[in-house]
Subunit: 434 residues, 2 copies
Amino acid sequence: MNSQKLSIPDTTKKRIIIIGGGFAGINLLKNLKHQNFQLVLIDKNNFHTFQPLLYQVATAGLEPDSIAGPLRKQISGNYEYYFRMASVLDIDPVTKKVLTDLGEINFDILIIATGTVSNFYGNKSVEQNAFPLKEVNDALNLRSHILQNFEHAVLIDDQEELEKYMNIVVVGGGPTGVEVAGALGELKRHVLPKDYPELDFSGMNIYLVEGLEKLLAGMSEKAGTTAVKSLRKFSVNVVLNTMVKEFDGNRVLLSNENAIETRTVIWAAGVKGTIFNGISKESQLKGRILVDRFNKVRGTENIYAVGDISVMQTQAYPDGHPMLAQVAIQQGRLLGRNLKRIEKSLNPVPFEYKDKGSMATIGRNKAVADLPGNMHFGGLIAWMIWMFIHLVSIIGFRNKIVILSNWVWNYFTYDRGTRLIIRKFIPNWEKKSS
Amino acid sequence: MNSQKLSIPDTTKKRIIIIGGGFAGINLLKNLKHQNFQLVLIDKNNFHTFQPLLYQVATAGLEPDSIAGPLRKQISGNYEYYFRMASVLDIDPVTKKVLTDLGEINFDILIIATGTVSNFYGNKSVEQNAFPLKEVNDALNLRSHILQNFEHAVLIDDQEELEKYMNIVVVGGGPTGVEVAGALGELKRHVLPKDYPELDFSGMNIYLVEGLEKLLAGMSEKAGTTAVKSLRKFSVNVVLNTMVKEFDGNRVLLSNENAIETRTVIWAAGVKGTIFNGISKESQLKGRILVDRFNKVRGTENIYAVGDISVMQTQAYPDGHPMLAQVAIQQGRLLGRNLKRIEKSLNPVPFEYKDKGSMATIGRNKAVADLPGNMHFGGLIAWMIWMFIHLVSIIGFRNKIVILSNWVWNYFTYDRGTRLIIRKFIPNWEKKSS
């Protein structure tokens, strides 16, 4: 096995290595098509994950494959594109090398599009026992875990013990937290009672715990208050101004000293970057990589960072842009175009974020959307806009069709087709005791 | 936790326990609806698996969830139905008890519908390293393994080493073996070369190894010869009169002393029953359970066995019926009706197998079908019949829609949407060395 250069041939073309096939990475790739570059994409998975719909996989609404797209398929055509399924261990800006678990490879231009991972802010008990929701595997583990809890709950007589298996605590009142809490509310009201007629669902409590005094802090005031109101109507207990102190796998301790008996804590309270050692300290800001208006990493000539891992401070966004799919997509696209411009000795175009608004779905017929021009929608219209935007955005025509059919099905039948425990999940705290 | 009776309340109704939610089990359930019984279904999974399409999951044509149906959903309505996700450890016909990993439960009537597992005929090296294809997990492991092999193959220079990663050996020339070999032939010709333009696919060899002198031994002579001819045209090497002697994870040794370098052996060469200790030796025949014409286990009064695990010897079928979904479905249905008849003091109706024919698909536009009335089809017509029958048979309207859309997509695009390594597979031989 030739691990040098990951078996990628040297050519006269410039080699561009892209680390990460998320929103930034694949949009960059698409916009580099048909050019005089050798493109190398490295990702630890062989698929792109459409993260905005992960929560629907976790709540049995969609099949995992529907929200993933094969990375090898992302470019097809008559030019040089290589994909390698590998983990990047480090980069060396001086010798221009990327070090992976498959070996080393040198680059002419490097693009870091690694995104973020869950941030547990040093809380070990939460990190060990709570469920993140960043990857397809996370969503599948969570789906199995919730269903396994209910399969177990039917065997329990003791009411307090029973509620531990039925209760679910969601931490973090951003879009992911709001959406997953809303979807769990639907499971509680429409789906699970049909499957488990033996259980009394008034004993199932869904909590959404948020440290700030409002939900959806990145959105309008109106969106936040609508979310609180709607979630409460959908039988979710919204707990504001409160943090999680500890979770041992059976019991959550809150900052207000209240405790909730539960086996399931979903962590959507924050993300952080993981930065390669090769990036100098001066080019970092709070765990992310400082870039200029062309997404070039400060202090380098041929290294770029795009999407969530990068921080671009501009007049309009002095603290950097929001960590949203739209920013990643727009940065990826522009960087693709700029690399082509530079190749043609044209000046690159500085990045200007075009805010297309933000939105979050809360449940059946209910979403909130802030659109450009100070337009705020709630309810059915926002919900339809949300569905339309997500269908348009997801990669692959096949995925669009499959997701649309599932949504139509779920809507009219109040059913969730994929409530299957395909692979059992064994929590960390049970692994330890066995 | 009340493990006694698995937390199922005692009622005045007769308790019928069904072990296994396969074709026999769910068809039995459906035909016991609205009756004066307490129905308890026990299965280790919370879903029914549509086994005839497992090979399409393994070859990235269908999503795993599409061929599975939640067992809790199988009966809905106003009568007593309990599902328990549990493994049955043993049964006791004398005290009328079923022992599970969740505890014991007593029955009035017991129905054993446990199906079969792969039979490796005592060959330990094959059992440890080959892939069975009986469960959703098997199919997912195989899908991941094949794709991981190709991700690895792009890194290899040595031609012999390379072929080891690309070659695939299928063992067993029954319907499953023929179908999976045909689907692999399609991957080789239409799908993989687009994903891996770096690889030379003339180096990828697919073998179908069968011990007898023909394929599809249970079908007509014509079906067998058509299968051989078509598979060869679809670039599958059909090796007849040959058995597998050994497979160490890297190399298959055949009974003709030839060896094939490969990391992937798919085992479709045989199945066997697993029989609870509580079943007397006199009621067993070659690892299956002897039943009378009413599927009652010989020597018992209230224990029945249906589907593949049972052997019913009749004049027309002196060695028992073929182990086919149709037999299981028909037996399940009839037993459901008979239990209702007995309850009304009517005589039960003896089982009479209605042979609806058998079929196997080979690839694009190509299948073989033997239908009643000595009708034999090959080619496009058989292929369309095959698709129609499978769509009609699969449980759940949602699954039908999703599968049909996938088939239409796969057919017109020559694409496979689900070539994703969602969870990496680690082979036994690598686990040992690590």
